[in-house]
Symmetry: C2
Subunit: 548 residues, 2 copies
């Protein structure tokens, strides 16, 4: 592996950790817990792991001699900056307790456990990946651990390797499954603890007890760097409107955080669109009105941020997609007979009035994506829709109408961008490097303390790392019952943007100013070696949430 100059310099970085983790620790039990909702059902489903106390690690008076332990680790789901540091933290933690402890990595995600695909992670390997981005040390995958056969198959290799604890690094679904696995292994007396770690750039795995998921900080900083650069270009060339779509699945946390960092002219928040029951037309009108207002001031340029999940949050679009899925499923054969050039008209003629009108209003390319590019189950693939192009085109059309009516006199030209893969594997910021390492180290403490069904937790992270609080949260505490694929299931509540939360309220209080005036902020690239106010600040989102 050829290393860049920065990688070489960065390898030596020693992550900052909570004071309590610097020596021997003891686990201190807090209050017993309840799930956030549906307590009776969750309790019934998790008889062995429900209601456990929150745990905090505090410095122990004397170092303990602990037995050697073999630990397995899995990276689950999409990449997020800092995953390698979680693994390094686990490694250092179990080695500090007993140098004969061993760490095994399962290859390419949960599938590696089921398929018995693993490697031992020795000091040489770990050192090669400290403070690096990516999940390439052991790879990741999207296999869901949901079936008893998978658990039993996994147990075979865990027994064979004498693994006493498994750390699953993943998002809300993966941690839900980790908890189900913990419950199962406890129920059958398998002797394997399961610990979760909160990972996702999307920022949607957080709650009263988990401040943030790792990777959100770094990914948002990378996106904000390039958004800031685009804003500066926009403000220099003064001739384009840039429509920028941002990854983040359903939740708009990434778009909101990037808006707080870069102060664009427009940022759409899906959760608000849904709460206000806005139509696509409303969103288009809103953006077009900002364009028109700026044009009156001679500013025929601007920047618009769009969250990836927007389309799914527009109630009317949701209805259209549902009817399309249904209609196409029932008329597959007939639809296939229609000549390609006639398909659009055919669909328009068949849908209900409301959906037909909405479908007819969509640009041709998007209409085609909706009807043709469906997944193997025949469903519309919402994630493939180029929302940034859709909005740019529809805003352009709306402005042309307004121009014809004499309501708008500006010039409108657009550029589109989509950022996602650019940030998921960036080298972690100091915050994520420290947070991830601490999460991993804390996971090793939970293992040493014999815990299972817990998520590793590091809190108070807007304070200096010294003052961070390390501990464990029972995963059942974050659960409620939700309908998934038609069945009620216990799952960790996904955190969407709260419209009464400080981050959104701060954005909402400023957006009119940002829309009309040009108040761009240029965050620049992540820095690793400079002053602490440049290198060590975490997201605006977390700072605002913690300030409340």
């Amino acid at each position: 592996m050829t290393k860049s100059a920065l990688q070489i310099a960065r390898a030596a970085y020693q992550p900052k950790v909570p004071a309590a983790l610097k020596g021997a620790v003891k686990a201190v039990d807090g209050e017993m817990t309840q799930s956030v909702a549906d307590q009776e059902e969750i309790k019934k489903l998790f008889p062995n792991t429900y209601g456990m106390p929150v745990i905090t690690f505090e410095p122990a008076d004397a170092p303990q001699e602990l037995p050697a332990v073999n630990v397995g680790v899995i990276l689950s789901g999409g990449q997020a900056p800092g995953g390698h540091n979680v693994i390094a933290g686990i490694f250092d933690g179990i080695k500090a307790a007993n140098k004969d402890s061993r760490l095994y990595g399962f290859i390419l995600g949960p599938g590696g456990l089921v398929d018995h695909n693993y490697m031992e992670l020795t000091a040489d390997i770990i050192d090669e990946y400290r403070n690096t981005g990516g999940f390439d040390m052991i790879g990741s995958g999207r296999t869901k651990l949901e079936a008893k056969e998978q658990y039993d198959k996994g147990l075979e290799i865990l027994k064979q390797l004498n693994i006493k604890a498994l750390v699953i690094i993943g998002g809300d679904d993966s941690n839900t499954n980790a908890c189900v696995l913990a419950e199962y292994y406890k129920a059958i007396g398998a002797g394997v603890q399961v610990i979760g770690c909160p990972k996702t750039i999307d920022g949607d795995l957080k709650n009263e007890v988990i401040e943030t998921s790792f990777g959100f900080d770094t990914a948002c900083k990378v996106y904000s760097e390039v958004i800031g650069n685009i804003e500066r270009d926009c403000n220099s060339a003064r001739k384009y409107w840039h429509f920028i779509k941002l990854m983040g699945r359903s939740a708009s946390h990434i778009a909101l955080e990037c808006a707080l960092q870069t102060q664009p002219n427009v940022c759409i928040i899906s959760e608000e669109v849904e709460a206000k029951n806005q139509s696509l037309d409303d969103v288009v009108n809103y953006i077009a009105s900002v364009v028109a207002t700026r044009a009156e001031n001679g500013n025929n340029f601007g920047t618009v941020l769009i969250p990836e999940g927007l389309i799914e949050f527009i109630p009317a679009m949701k209805n259209l997609i549902a009817e399309l899925n249904d209609f196409l499923a029932h008329n597959e054969a007939e639809f296939k007979q229609i000549d390609k050039t006639e398909q659009r008209a055919y669909i328009i003629s068949k849908l209900s009035k409301e959906n037909s009108e909405l479908y007819a209003s969509l640009p041709e390319g998007v209409a085609r994506q909706l009807s043709l590019d469906r997944d193997p189950h025949g469903n519309v693939q919402v994630s493939l829709i180029e929302t940034e192009k859709l909005l740019a085109e529809m805003v352009g059309n709306r402005l042309a109408e307004w121009k014809a009516e004499g309501k708008y006199k500006g010039k409108f030209a657009s550029q589109v961008h989509f950022f996602g893969y650019e940030g998921r594997c960036a080298a972690p910021s100091n915050y994520d490097a420290d947070y991830c390492y601490s999460l991993g180290y804390t996971a090793s403490c939970l293992i040493n303390a014999g815990k299972t069904g817990y998520m590793s937790s590091v809190r108070n992270t807007t304070a200096p790392a010294d003052q961070w609080i390390a501990g464990g949260i029972p995963v059942t505490m974050m659960m409620n019952m939700e309908r998934r694929h038609g069945e009620m299931k216990p799952v960790i509540q996904k955190a969407l943007v709260k419209l009464d939360g400080a981050p959104f309220k701060t954005f909402a209080a400023n957006r009119e100013n940002w829309a009309v005036n040009t108040e761009y902020v240029y965050p620049g690239p992540i820095q690793y070696f400079g002053p602490t106010e440049v290198c060590d600040q975490t997201t605006k989102t977390l700072q605002l949430e913690q300030a409340k």
Copy 2:
């Protein structure tokens, strides 16, 4: 203007300058010069500014008391990181010589000179923009200074403001025009010197005497940062081929530099495609064969870099576009009558056999762009063609054919990206901050030395800044005669990638290894505060060129 933490910290950076510029300087004449070609014609066109000597600035024994001078500055063409530092260098340079000197900025490019749109750049303003990206201090524009009326109109405001020298910061065309203006003002005895500065992220303004254009370093580093992040994602998820198009107009310098920094599996160099007379089919086959080879090793992922100008360098595509332009111009009325869904078939039936076959082989979206989305003159807009999608789709189709023939057994899924606006206004790297400031300061020295028709030059820039050589190059020295819009014109030779140059040869010697093996390098974000080997290295291109 709200400033980010990094901007605030970075404002204090004092650019490094050549030792000679640290005190009083004297201009030392070198050899008299000749244009690179067409000497007789160039000499005739530039009787007053042809054949002047190369100038080098050396420390003067005693500081000179110089008269105050009013200077104008213009940013011309596309944004490039460091423009503000050029202006800061000019400002500091003329103020160091006489504190009563003044600097005026013409607003939104050369048009500001013609339209008498300007602002005085005072210390307050300059300080606000030191070491920042963008051209937003005075804006830029693409008006070409080519006509006598423009020169005369500009002279009015120059006289009115008592401006004795004008610095034009631009690419090859803008510097050509700067030289024509210098010649004209000298010929009519206007008493206004004109100095050029080499700017363009594209890297195509360089030659024996101008090592590099400013902004190339920073832009390539930003693109390489995100390309590296994508490669790491690619290598972690192991399921996508990423097709990444890079800005850079005709030349492939940016793609080549990014390839040297990130070691992707494929990088197409337009100049090589042209030299080898390759067809689009050849390019598709080459990429598909790399995909197939990697698939045999179980690697169904990879990264492909594509230069923006590729299409224009494929001889067969050039022919197709020429025939299409010609055909559509002559059959405009008839073409408009054809139903949209029939246009493709119509064109296929009308073109020559060779072009008809090529046109038929193009994906539908691209074919539509070629025939419909034409510019106001009716010409095909090559820059709008989404080459990254075109190639991803055609490679996918080719692999499907090979699969049917049993020649390929892998899986192929692609993601596309285009990077350009993300890097043009990034805050300058240390190299560009230093280089730009030095170029500006050197321009002030050329002004003080009474020179006109010169380009500011700073050389030996792979050495520490202390050892850089500051001076001036007569712009006529870089000129030859070229056909432009049907007319022979004196222009600065555009620098394309040299296939016998060290950067390309280094790439070519390694690309087979990079194709098959996964040798990605992750450069990470530009650093400003770390060790010198991380913060102060310039491009691989320049290092390889200077090492020869």
